[in-house]
């Protein structure tokens, strides 16, 4: 009985109906957290001693980079679950996670470039962290391209799940790149195990932003997954009832 929820999770219909109630709350949480975080971070956090105001892009850059990496795990793990337990729903989550992750990776690369100009004097360097994030973008695009290229949906699901899994070998390298190759990019500022090298007055708004990005990610992922579920189950009765209402 304990596993009942897990089996239910395999049903797109159950998932769709269950998550309907979550969406407004997630949306509310995202908006509140993001607004609070941006106002706090951009308006009230102190100026950085060395970088002046330009450091404030950290409030977008770091959360986006966080989610870009975490999003790859979400994609790969849901792909693995789909391969192992042959769950349709899990594949839908994987498919939905790919473009979101790609966009977040792009945002973190773009904000990094914008931030790099005033602080390092250059938009782009072949630094370990930047290059490995670019590789992450290619990994995402590869998964998306493969899933588009294979015409049969079930085959495309499995193939892209396998590719996502294979790609995970690069993720630890991306994570640790700033510590292993000490080049231009600063080492990780936020650490879970020891005290962070960032002042609390900047750290708290950053945490709020990270929480806000997580909520937004969950919200976007759910919305996208639900859309995919509707499209895939287009011909079933429950979707028709859901969209058209009771006949």
């Amino acid at each position: 009985m304990a596993w009942q929820w897990f089996h239910r999770l395999g049903s797109p219909r159950w998932f769709y109906q269950k998550t309907s109630g979550w969406l407004p709350w997630l949306a509310l949480a995202s908006v509140v957290l993001l607004v609070t975080g941006s106002v706090w971070g951009l308006g009230f956090a102190p100026e950085d001693a060395k970088q002046g105001n330009s450091y404030r892009i950290i409030f977008i850059h770091v959360p986006a980079a966080f989610l870009a990496l975490a999003g790859y795990y979400i994609m790969a793990i849901s792909g693995a679950i789909g391969l192992i337990w042959k769950m349709k729903l899990s594949f839908a989550v994987m498919r939905a996670a790919a473009p979101i992750g790609a966009v977040l990776t792009f945002i973190s690369l773009f904000t990094g470039a914008v931030w790099g100009k005033p602080t390092w004097g250059t938009y782009w360097v072949w630094d370990a962290r930047i290059t490995s994030m670019l590789i992450l973008l290619f990994l995402y695009i590869g998964v998306m391209a493969l899933s588009q290229a294979v015409s049969r949906e079930q085959v495309a699901d499995k193939a892209s799940a396998l590719l996502a899994l294979v790609g995970t070998v690069n993720i630890p390298i991306i994570y640790k790149s700033v510590d292993w190759w000490f080049t231009l990019h600063q080492p990780a500022t936020i650490r879970l195990t020891e005290s962070s090298s960032i002042d609390p007055s900047m750290f708290y708004p950053l945490l709020v932003m990270i929480a806000g990005f997580y909520c937004t990610y969950a919200w976007t992922l759910l919305t996208h997954t639900r859309a995919l579920i509707l499209r895939r189950d287009m011909k079933t009765q429950w979707v028709q009832q859901e969209l058209v209402g009771e006949k």
Binding site: F138, A145, L146, A149, A159, L162, L165, V166
Partner: protein, 237 residues
């Protein structure tokens, strides 16, 4: 080679076709299509010959670029020749027969990757001192370049097999294969060029070579598994 020869381990009296038989068949096939072996090498040499024409023939500049250029060209040559790794067997149905064998598909992939490496990676590694000479690479780097290519191209063949297996059912896999496989090549490229650079600069480079060897061990253990899974998925298509 006719289909019956290829199928002989499947239907033949020998009950243990095994890795060795598959390897022998693949090797024979590779030897009979010599152009397929020569093409990646020619590609490798031609592009490297274009390099001095493109960036200028200054010896210092070439010496600086040599390790990276040789490595990137090895990457491209491996990838381009990999597209056809499973294609012929997929089209004539041999791949399905291999998938039906009682022995794991793992060994078939391993045999094919090994032959692919012997046909492309190994000659590239053997040829590399000559190219290093042409590109004016400092002599300290020769041995390291050879060893790093020797280890690294084997990993590339194994990793590329995953991409080739994933795209075998597609009509035009070329660019998609590049998109899929290139990011996976990155660790090998980083440590391969890192080793050569360290050797040129006069530092110890055994650590990088050890990592390359470790990558190869991991690729040999895991990549054929992933590729075998990908073949089974592609056969569903």
């Amino acid at each position: 080679m006719s289909l019956t020869d290829v199928q002989s381990p499947v239907v033949g009296a020998r009950a243990t076709p095994g890795f060795a038989a598959l390897f022998k068949i693949e090797m024979l096939l590779a030897l009979r299509k010599r152009a397929d072996i020569a093409n990646p090498l020619l590609f490798f040499v031609t592009v490297l010959a274009l390099l001095p024409l493109g960036v200028g023939p200054e010896p210092e500049l070439l010496a600086k670029m040599a390790p990276g250029m040789i490595w990137v060209m090895a990457l491209l040559a491996t990838m381009l020749s990999q597209e056809s790794l499973f294609r012929g067997d997929f089209e004539d149905g041999t791949l399905e027969q291999l998938a039906l064998l009682p022995q794991p598909l793992y060994f078939a992939v391993l045999a094919k990757s090994l032959v692919h490496w012997i046909a492309t990676g190994l000659p590239l590694a053997l040829l590399s001192p000559l190219l290093a000479l042409m590109l004016n690479l400092p002599t300290e780097g020769y041995l390291c370049l050879f060893v790093s290519l020797f280890l690294g191209t084997a990993s590339l063949s194994l990793i590329g097999a995953i991409g080739a297996a994933l795209t075998v059912a597609l009509r035009r896999p070329g660019l998609l294969l590049a998109l899929i496989v290139m990011p996976l090549y990155v660790p090998v490229l980083i440590f391969g060029t890192g080793a050569v650079q360290a050797a040129i600069d006069g530092y110890a480079y055994s650590a990088q070579l050890a990592i390359l060897a470790a990558l190869l061990a991991a690729a040999a253990a895991l990549a054929p598994l992933a590729a075998a899974g990908a073949i089974r998925i592609s056969l569903d298509n």
